[in-house]
Assembly symmetry: C2
Homo-oligomer: 276 residues x 2
């Protein structure tokens, strides 16, 4: 395990893709209203919920992605710290992407990078590119860590700004080009590309080479998985971090929630693998 501590995020991801034979990332979005009732009677229910999900799925994933909002909204930074520490110590081969979508400038951005990489010791962090390269630079300067930049997100409203036409192409393609050509000097960038748009994904794959894509918007439903994997995979059948949150986390709200999560994670991993 000592070797893994010296791996970069990209190396760790590559290793995890192979070790788990999986492109699946489980998003840890502990929505209080959906956490099984029996956990809420015990101490640290958010941590315990995440821990049991992680223990039940660790051999099926290439990454975990804790969403910081669910912790900060509940004043539960301590439980997020425990999720990060537990995962890193128990499964050191699995990269952890802190989903916080930060974005600011100068010393402020440096403090957000410190939050992600020093405080929580994440392997990668999501970052919003709207403020430009100098706002991303304090994250990018952590050469061993991953910076996962929003490009074309999966929500309906993404079109409002990301699809605006710039020199004959949608804005998000320019964002992808900038990231690939100018921001990726340490080879530590990834981009977020929504699963809902396979044609856009294919174009972004052609723009960014083998850059990993974090792909939100995949449910347990099989329909789009074929299209997105075929559009987004790299030539070696990898290149994707396919995130599923709710479908896995809330497969059951009973005592069997972790086992139910495992079953959905297994199905989703295998479904993705059909099309690699």
């Amino acid at each position: 395990m000592t070797i893994e501590k010296t791996m970069t995020f990209i190396e760790k991801l590559q290793h995890a893709w192979e070790r788990s034979d999986s492109l699946l990332c489980v998003g840890l979005d502990p929505n209080w209203s959906k956490i099984p009732a029996h956990l809420k009677e015990q101490p640290e229910p958010i941590f315990n919920f995440c821990k049991q999900i992680i223990d039940a799925t660790h051999d099926l994933v290439c990454a975990y992605k804790p969403q910081i909002a669910y912790f900060s909204g509940l004043e539960a930074e301590g439980q997020l710290q425990k999720v990060m520490d537990y995962t890193r110590e128990t499964y050191p081969h699995i990269p952890i992407i802190l989903d916080s979508k930060r974005g600011d400038i100068g010393s402020t951005a440096a403090m957000y990078a410190k939050e992600a990489f020093t405080r929580y010791q994440a392997d990668a962090v999501t970052v919003n590119p709207y403020m430009g390269q100098d706002s991303a630079q304090p994250f990018l300067d952590y050469a061993d860590k991953g910076t996962v930049l929003l490009c074309r997100t999966s929500n309906a409203g993404a079109a409002d700004i990301q699809d605006l036409e710039v020199q004959g192409a949608p804005l998000y393609e320019h964002v992808a080009s900038m990231i690939a050509n100018d921001w990726n000097t340490h080879n530590n960038c990834c981009i977020v590309v929504g699963a809902t748009w396979p044609e856009q994904m294919a174009k972004l794959r052609s723009i960014t080479g083998d850059m990993p894509f974090l792909v939100p918007g995949v449910g347990a439903q099989g329909g789009d998985v074929k299209a997105l994997v075929e559009a987004g995979k790299t030539s070696d059948g990898k290149g994707l971090i396919v995130n599923s949150s709710r479908a896995v986390l809330y497969a059951s709200d009973g005592l069997d929630f972790a086992q139910a999560a495992r079953e959905v994670a297994l199905q989703t991993r295998d479904l993705i693998n059909q099309y690699r």
Copy 2:
């Protein structure tokens, strides 16, 4: 003071502009390396630094803007909570803008809104618009609270994306139009417009009517204050929340830091007022 508790953010801002005869906002960016050494020997140095700055400047400002990164990077959410509570309880007429530049979708955005408006009880929060209207909506739905959307920021890298040309105009003008025409149904939007670009500010004023602008990038230096105030003010000589952080906070690193901060805040307020 009871009346003020029922005011909306915009009403509170209007009231504060008049009460303090000031468009100045002091940004609370407690950079650990710049906090006076004598404070670091006492408990809760970040809170105490901010508290003394606030006590020394409260009659000179229209708002305070705590920058959450400086707290979260240092695991100091508790001290941020104390800054928020102290300011609200001691100076309930002064609106507090939590600068966190959040941006996400659905229930995640709702948790960020809860972080800002329920946990920290901020009057307004900064939000990144890149993910589109549905990502801003959970903030906008707090009709009494302010949502301060990034539009044209003051950093050099802002040009990378914000200045890209869309239908003959820079992207940020489209963002401003969308916010003014579609996102502002509760009349609770503001936009961030960097002080470094007075011509852009004048155009944005023409696009957004009387919408308040949060203007970062102003130092103690007088040069651009004239240009930005003349370009950005509304017809009644208000409409601007002119932020100064470092020039005020770190006017001195000695025992006299709060008094020195007051002097710079006073000079800056009066300089701004020359051009209203």
